[in-house]
């Protein structure tokens, strides 16, 4: 009697999308497998093959694996730390530079807004300048006080001269 290879042929053609070892009951020809000794043996052989592969091949890491990995991770952490510390001053420099430029601009605009650099603008500085500008706003009163002052000075000089003459004449 010819050997049945129905299941084997399906597998060779990669038609069977079930794992024959673990899902034999699910496949379309499960009824056939139950009654066909050849296909039943075929499934059993595949299971033994799978078991042989599972039981024979095992490779584990060495005892020094954990310590070696720890030391590699430590050097990675140190490298990261070093990179961060090198990178920080550069960022700081950029930050300080930008801040400095911004501060200069702000100061310039603030001072400009006070009119310090504007000769035509008056009356905004609450200091000596304001007195100067107030004085320049009222030239008439300024001239008058200057004339008074000059008159006072000449009067004082005249008084001194009269006194000197009286002394020299012996009055």
């Amino acid at each position: 009697m010819e050997k049945c290879s129905r299941l084997e042929e399906m597998i060779r053609r990669e038609e069977l999308e079930y794992d024959v070892v673990t899902e034999a009951a699910s496949i379309e020809i499960s009824d056939h497998i139950r009654v066909c000794p050849d296909c039943g043996k075929f499934v059993s052989d595949l299971k033994k093959t799978s078991d042989s592969v599972r039981s024979l091949l095992k490779v584990s890491v060495s005892d020094s694996f954990d310590s070696a990995l720890r030391s590699r991770l430590n050097s990675v952490r140190n490298k990261q730390k070093k990179e961060r510390s090198v990178a920080t001053p550069l960022y700081s420099k950029i930050f300080y530079y930008v801040s400095g430029v911004a501060a200069i601009f702000i100061a310039f605009f603030y001072i400009s807004s006070l009119g310090l650099f504007d000769n035509n603008k008056t009356g905004t500085m609450p200091s000596l300048n304001s007195e100067m500008s107030l004085a320049s706003e009222n030239p008439v009163s300024n001239d008058k006080s200057a004339i008074d002052s000059l008159e006072n000075m000449s009067k004082s000089v005249q008084d001194d001269e009269n006194l000197r003459l009286r002394v020299s004449t012996g009055e």
Binding site: L16, Y18, D19, D45, S52, L57, V59, L69, V76
Partner: protein
């Protein structure tokens, strides 16, 4: 949260905690994946030292790129993708990409056998069988080799494999059957 409680969390929950600064969660992820990755990457690199280097590189990258992980993908898929890419890059740099072999450097068997309480005769037989299985896996087409390794060696779910290889789950299963069929032919005398 102590390490005992961390063990109850899913990979994705651990990753979220790690993203928020909890380094214990990272340690737990390392613990979960270090041997699985080593087991997988060993078959790419063919020697322990290179494989262990790749696994360590993988975890360093996970550490450095934690912010890049998005919850839409499984953590296992993300970690395996990093590891496999690193392994493939290392192999292509060393010019070994096309001579993939899992039988170890110079034919040496650089792997462990789970069953270590057997008699000497059985050990010999097991070593012989493991040699044959490994060279059989080695001779599989890459699309079959990758799947049998991910499923039977790394014990990943079909869905995880599908996500990792970006193929449908049905294709994962059909290729897995085909890979086992080829392997069965190679070890038929040993599994009767």
């Amino acid at each position: 949260m102590d390490m005992m409680n961390l063990k109850k969390l899913t990979d994705e929950e651990l990753m979220l905690r790690f993203q928020n600064g909890d380094e214990n969660s990272y340690s737990e992820l390392v613990e979960r994946y270090k041997n699985k990755l080593m087991n997988h990457i060993f078959y790419y690199m063919k020697d322990r030292e290179s494989a262990e280097d790749i696994v360590q590189d993988t975890f360093v990258r996970v550490y450095l790129n934690k912010e890049k992980y998005k919850e839409i993908a499984k953590v296992s898929t993300w970690i395996y993708t990093i590891a496999i890419n690193l392994a493939k890059t290392a192999l292509s740099r060393s010019g070994k990409m096309n001579s993939f072999s899992i039988t170890g450097k110079d034919g040496e068997n650089d792997y462990e056998i789970k069953d270590n309480h057997s008699s000497t005769d059985r050990d010999v037989l097991k070593n012989e069988l493991s040699d044959i299985i490994m060279s059989s896996i080695d001779s599989l087409e890459e699309k079959f080799r990758e799947i049998v390794m991910l499923r039977d060696i790394d014990e990943m779910s079909y869905e995880e494999i599908a996500a990792l290889l970006q193929i449908p789950t049905g294709t994962v299963k059909s290729r897995l059957n085909r890979a086992r069929l080829n392997l069965r032919d190679a070890i038929a005398d040993y599994i009767k």
